[in-house]
């Protein structure tokens, strides 16, 4: 699969792999963390696209650009997205 340039608003998860010693007792698990969209936008520009009222309440924000999904862990682990 061709690697596309990551978009920080869409690809919010980062993955890293701590050193795994052969003496470590447990099998290694990739570590991941989220970098939410508030790290990138700066001062919010006017007239950004909005969710509908119905959608906004479900998502917890009026502006899609701030939406940060938090899917179950097993989905996040796969490829960091």
């Amino acid at each position: 699969m061709k690697k596309r340039k990551p978009n920080p608003y869409r690809d919010q998860y980062r993955v890293w792999y701590p050193f795994h010693s052969p003496d470590d007792p447990c099998p290694p698990i990739a570590k991941q963390y989220v970098v939410p969209p508030n790290q990138f936008l700066g001062f919010q520009p006017p007239n950004l696209p909005q969710f509908s009222k119905h959608e906004a309440l479900i998502k917890g924000t009026l502006w899609p650009i701030f939406y940060s999904p938090y899917p179950p862990k097993k989905w996040r682990d796969k490829d960091g997205t």
């Binding site: 919010q44 906004a56 009026l62």
Partner: protein, 84 residues
Amino acid sequence: MEHEKRRALLRKLQEVDFVLVELNLYLDTHPSDLDALDQYNHCALEREAIRSEYEERYGPLMHFGHSSNRYPCGWNEGPWPWEI
């Protein structure tokens, strides 16, 4: 079912009120955005209509004179928000 109807109307109010919260916080840091101000004032009218419909059916939402009270189904009657 009455419980479902009540929940649906409450949700409508929660939806418009949420937009108002979001616009309010936005306007706190963008006080001169006239489009956002317009939208805020428009939503405030819309919430007023839903509020009065809700209160007519299910009783006052607010105390201290911000809703008119009545008997029965007045302010002091449940269910309370954490009970519904």
